[in-house]
Structure formats: structure tokens, C-alpha cells
Symmetry: C2
């Protein structure tokens, strides 16, 4: 791959500069850079930021590009889970095709990393994982995908799922998933012991969906913190949603946020429309490493969302009552550098030596870029241009 | 104006039909309509709905099309009000230019009616009203604008404002505004007596911003209901935001919703990002006529929003935990027919005899149209095409 010289961009909204990229890394940032033989791109004065990061999604669940889905239900979390599991085959919700659609749109919108949960259950076995691994392979060099083996339909309540998760991790899943150890899995000790045992056995990180509210969620979160400490897994445990930290119980929430920061448990938030979510500002003030994800997009659960991390940042920003420029800059940091850090990807920034995973964004300032609804002018992954003006620009790769 | 024959549309998402428009009204709906001499438009199978309705906004406050505004503040409602009042002149926030920008974008996005609040205060006198009345005149036939004379900086706490409101109503404002009679205006009896006196004197409706929470807001709302009943102003009083009906106090909220419905007080909701809002579903179940508005868009208060009522419908839908098709259809109804009804505009629908104010929307079904982010294919106001593919198409009128 030849060098790439990106002319006339504004790194993090600062002064205009050029960025020289060599061997997939940022080799120089400065004015009037020369690089004979390099491919040259004109950044037209746009702001350059580290690639956006979708730290929590379910790529394969989207109906994007399919006929409008009319079968969404009300009811409990269990009803929604059952509706999805029973709809996949009649809907022809092809995991590979749908995850390709979702991931490519994310890449076109400037994302460079994704963490995606894939359902592992006794109805589908590892078939969904296989489809998503095919997407991970197909998009290598375009967008990086971490795959969480996720017991969406329960682990303790669905005998056989533990062995499937074990096989999923051996087969190539990157992370051990979990789901509501108390409310859904009905056995918090058993469920968490199983998840941590799999993590230790496979030497892989953990990411647990925790929708549980109030005191029940606080109890389960304490059990997660205890196991993180006992196993010395600081930095390797994530909790997604963690609505219990959004409760109106300031003293308890502050105490738990401090402990989450101390055990370096990562929190992944999505600005969920139907729940109280933990305050992004409070989590960052407590020192927690936080990532943000677009979660499910137009899936059997709900109609909302776009496969675009700036769209998601706006939802999260509104949910967190943000309005000032410094708040929008925090939001953008969580949607890019901070989200990568929370996923265990270090050094994700516009700096010499960093991986050349970056995107240009429209807007006069970083804050403006968060709210401006415009395609990303240019997306670079590993030093290669992968999208222009919001459309994939990789020879041989097309949207299915 | 010649007749307009709109071929091949799906009224309210139903079967394909043609719509014949004559003298600004829908003259016929059916298949294979003939109209010699009529202008013909091909609807390409898109869904036709009554024009969208922005029932609560502040057209002139937007910074749309200006440089990014960096001066947003945190703090109290009073801080935000003061920041805006003090920023208008230094920012060159020209009322006519900005309200034109905002209103034209709304029209391009399929809106046919707007209710806009204009600040009347002792710093600016009636100058803001004059700028907005110029916009109302300039856009006659493109989009209808109701103007509320709004004491944004207070009525009782700013002596001189009552006389300004009186003059504003005589000068052409359509509706008497009010602001938080207890929390902001510090004299609920005095403030509401003044607002109702102006309404009776000028024989014009009322629309009061009520941000007050919990018991305080409930108290003020009761005072509004009492005066509505005493003056026989059923159907002529509106309350905007009405956060107190979003409180977690089911018995009190249900009692007040019933009374709001009984006195036919209209509620205008915006899916405010930083507040608990009244449940749209519960209000409609109680029989309340509800409108929806985009409120302030990228103004000195906050950075969020788009001048597009489908964008706002998505915010309101997420805020109300909607996900099923019938919920999205309710949302669309509030954003169009229902909002017009709440604003006192009867018969806003796709039906023979109705005013030919309609828009085509992209999507397979009504629910799909709510979430699909796409320009409106065609917008018709009073029988005339005013926008195509999301852009104004009226000779002689341009975006300032």
C-alpha cells in the first residue's frame, strides 16, 4: 500500500494541517508536508477525528434494506426476545447479509471499530456466530469487528447454552457475553460464575448486558464487581446498559460508580429510549471508561436508529441533557477515542504513531460536527480510504 | 390557479389512487381520474398524508445557516432566557431572516401549518413580532403561520409587558402567550388573570408555556383549568410542554388529564430532551387534543433538532417508548391531522372537500414513513406544489 498524504484537514478541529500516513500508521502531522509517490487526498478543510466506534450493537438483527417489518410487539423483555428468536427464520433474517449491511453503513459513516453481540442459543446453535464471523472476515481492513458470544435467550435457564458459548469462544468469538443474571437468568451466582469461568478458561474479556433496574441491578452489579476483583480481571470486564446506575439514588449510584472506576469495569451505553440511563457526565467524572453504541437498529425489537455513530451521539446527548460545546466534545470523545479505549483498543487518536483509523466530519467545530447531519467526507481505515462522501469506496466490496 | 391532478399516490398508505385538486381543495380521490387542462404530477406510488404541522416552535430563535454558536450555557431557565435576550443583537439574530430559514425548511419537509411563539419583552418591544409578521406575509400560500405573542422574559415580573402584549395582539399576533405563571412570573393569579383578560379583550386563543414540575405545575394547571371553565373558553386554551402531566404520580396525572380533556384544553408537546414529558398515548386515551412541535432548533438554548416534523416525531416517539406500528401511526397523526385540530384547524385530512394541504412521504407504510430519513417527494399547499424532493419549488421565493 502506498503512502497516503491527507492535505488540508483540521485535526480535532484545530488549525489546518496535513497528515502523512505510512504503513497504516500516522507518520507525520504538520503544514506543507511532502511525500513523493504518496497518494494525495484533499481534505478540503474538514475536521479530522479518530474513527468513530460503535461499542455496542447487534449487527445481524437489523432489518435494514428489507421490507418494513410489521410484527413489533409490546410486552416484557422476555416477549421481545421470544418474538425475535421465533421471527428470524420466517423473516429470512440472514445474519451475514444483514450484518454486512449494518457494518458497511457504519463504516460509510466513519466508524472504524465495532463490538457486536451475536446470539448463541439452543435453537440456532453457532449458526449466527458463523454468519457474523464471515462478515468480520469480509470486512477486514475496512472495519474491525469484535464479536461477543451472547446468550440472548439465557444461560442458566437454557441448558446447553454453556457448552455452546464454550464452543463459540473456541471457534472465534472474542468476548464472553452475559444477560441479566438475576432478572432473566434467574440465578445470579450461577450465571456470573459461569461467565467468569468461560472468561478465565479462554482468556477473553467479558461484556454483560445488565438491564436490571434499581436495587436488583445494584445487587447484580456488586456481584460483577466482586468477581472482577477476585479474578483480577480489572480492565477486562464490561457492563452494557447498566440502567441501575441511572437510578434516582445519588448516594448509592455514586458509591457504585466509584467502585466501577476502581475495578476498571467498562460501561457501554446506548441512550436507550425506554429507560433511565446512567449519566455520561457523571460516569466520566468518576473516571469510568465509557463506550457508546447504536444498539439494535430497525430490528424486531424497535424501529428506531440509524447505523451512524453521530446519529447515536445525538440521541445519547439529548438523553443526557447536554447542550454546551464542551458537553458535545465529551460526547464525540466517547463515540470515538473513549469508546475504543473502553473496548481495549489503546492509542486511538490523531497522533503520530497511532493507527491511521480516522474520519473527516462536516462542521466548523467539534461540537458542530456532532449535530450537523451530513455525510462523512472521507473515511480512512489502516491508512486506506474506505469511503467518500458517505459511500463505500473499496474496489470489490459492495453493499449486499 | 389551474387544477392539479396528482396521479398514483397512496392516501394514508392505502391503495393507489389519484387525487384531483380544484380551487385549493381536494375535489376527488379515485382511480383513473381525468381532468382536462389540469397540471399533472406523478406521485410515483408514495404515501400521501395531510401536511405535517409544527404546533410549537420559535421560528426566529434558530441560528440555522449562521456560524456555529459557541455561547450556550448551563444553569437555570432564567439563565438561558437572559443569555438569549442579551445575545440577539451581538449575534445579529435577525428575526425575519432566521424565521424565513426555519419556516422554509419546515415547508420543504412537508409542513403546512406552524404555530410560532415570538418574544415580546421590554428590551425588544414589538420589533421581533414585526419581523415574524413579515415572514408570515412572505410565506402566505406556502405555509400558514400562527403567531403567539409570548412574554418570554415574564409578564408580571417585567412591568410594561402587559401593554406590549396588548399592542402585539392589536397589531396582528394571533394568540396570547404566557410563561410559567408561578415559577417564572411569581404571581400565578395575577399572571393568569392578565393572560385571560387579554384573550377575552381581543377574542383570541391562549397558549401558555408551562415548564413547572410536580405539585407546583399541577397547581398552576388547575388555575388554568378553573379560568378556562369560568370564561367558557373550552377549545381556545392551550398549554405547551405541561411537564407536570409527565410526573410519576399516576392518580393525580390521570385526574388532571381527564379535566384537561373535559375543558378541551389543548396540549402541545415537543419530546423535550431534558424533562419528563406527558405520555402521548395516555393523553390521547384521555381524549385530549394534542399537537407536536419541534420547539427551538439549534438556538442559543440548545444545539439539537432539525426543522422537520418527521425528525421531531422520532424524538417524541423514542421519548414515549413507542415501537409498534400502531404507535408510530398515532405519532404521525399527532404530527399532522391531530396537531392541526389542536391548533383549531378543522378538517385537516386527505378527504374530498378538505383543504389541499398535503405531503408525500417515503416509505412502504405509515409507520415506515415515520422512521425513514428521506426528503419529502412532493409538498402541496392550497393546491399548489411548493416543494419537490425536499427543496422549495415556488418561483420568486428563495431561502435567505
Amino acid at each position: 500500500m502506498s503512502d497516503l498524504l491527507l492535505l488540508n484537514v483540521r485535526p480535532m478541529g484545530g488549525d489546518r494541517a496535513d497528515i502523512l500516513i505510512r504503513d497504516g500508521r500516522i507518520a507525520a502531522i504538520g503544514q506543507g508536508l511532502q511525500a513523493p509517490g504518496a497518494t494525495v487526498e484533499d481534505g478540503a478543510g474538514h475536521i479530522a477525528i479518530p474513527a468513530l466506534v460503535d461499542a455496542h450493537t447487534h449487527l445481524d438483527k437489523t432489518t435494514w434494506g428489507m421490507d418494513w417489518y410489521t410484527g413489533r410487539k409490546g410486552g416484557s423483555l422476555q416477549d421481545l426476545i421470544d418474538n425475535e428468536r421465533n421471527s428470524r427464520i420466517p423473516l429470512d433474517l440472514d445474519v451475514h447479509r444483514q450484518s454486512m449491511r449494518h457494518a458497511i453503513r457504519l463504516a460509510e459513516n466513519g466508524a472504524g471499530h465495532i463490538r457486536s453481540h451475536v446470539d448463541v442459543d439452543t435453537d440456532h446453535g453457532l449458526s449466527l456466530l458463523e454468519g457474523k464471523m464471515a462478515t468480520r472476515d469480509a470486512l477486514r481492513g475496512i472495519i474491525d469487528i469484535q464479536i461477543v458470544a451472547f446468550p440472548q435467550s439465557g444461560l442458566m435457564v437454557r441448558p446447553g447454552t454453556y457448552d455452546l458459548l464454550d464452543r463459540a469462544l473456541a471457534a472465534g468469538a472474542d468476548i464472553v457475553g452475559g444477560l441479566d443474571p438475576s432478572s432473566m437468568d434467574r440465578d445470579p451466582k450461577g450465571s456470573l460464575d459461569a461467565v467468569f469461568a468461560l472468561a478465565v478458561k479462554h482468556a477473553k474479556p467479558i461484556d454483560i448486558h445488565l438491564h436490571e433496574y434499581g436495587e436488583l441491578g445494584a445487587f447484580t452489579l456488586d456481584l460483577i464487581l466482586e468477581r472482577t476483583r477476585a479474578h483480577g480481571l480489572q480492565g477486562l470486564v464490561g457492563v452494557s446498559h447498566c440502567f441501575t446506575l441511572g437510578a434516582h439514588d445519588p448516594a448509592r449510584v455514586a458509591r457504585q460508580m466509584d467502585e466501577v472506576a476502581r475495578e476498571d469495569v467498562r460501561i457501554f451505553t446506548t441512550g436507550h429510549p425506554s429507560a433511565e440511563v446512567p449519566s455520561l457526565q457523571a460516569m466520566r467524572r468518576a473516571g469510568i471508561k465509557v463506550g457508546m453504541g447504536c444498539d439494535g437498529i430497525r430490528d424486531t425489537w424497535g424501529p428506531w436508529g440509524q447505523p451512524d455513530m453521530l446519529h447515536r451521539a445525538r440521541i445519547v446527548g439529548m438523553k443526557n441533557s447536554m447542550r454546551r460545546d464542551e458537553e458535545l466534545e465529551l460526547l464525540l470523545d466517547v463515540a470515538s477515542r473513549g469508546g475504543a479505549e473502553a473496548m481495549g483498543i489503546e492509542g486511538h487518536q490523531i497522533a503520530v504513531g497511532a493507527a491511521a483509523d480516522l474520519t473527516l466530519v462536516a462542521g466548523q467545530t467539534l461540537a458542530h460536527a456532532v449535530v450537523e447531519e451530513a455525510p462523512r467526507p472521507l473515511v480512512v481505515k489502516g491508512g486506506r480510504v474506505v469511503a467518500r462522501a458517505g459511500r463505500l469506496a473499496v474496489p470489490g466490496v459492495t453493499m449486499p
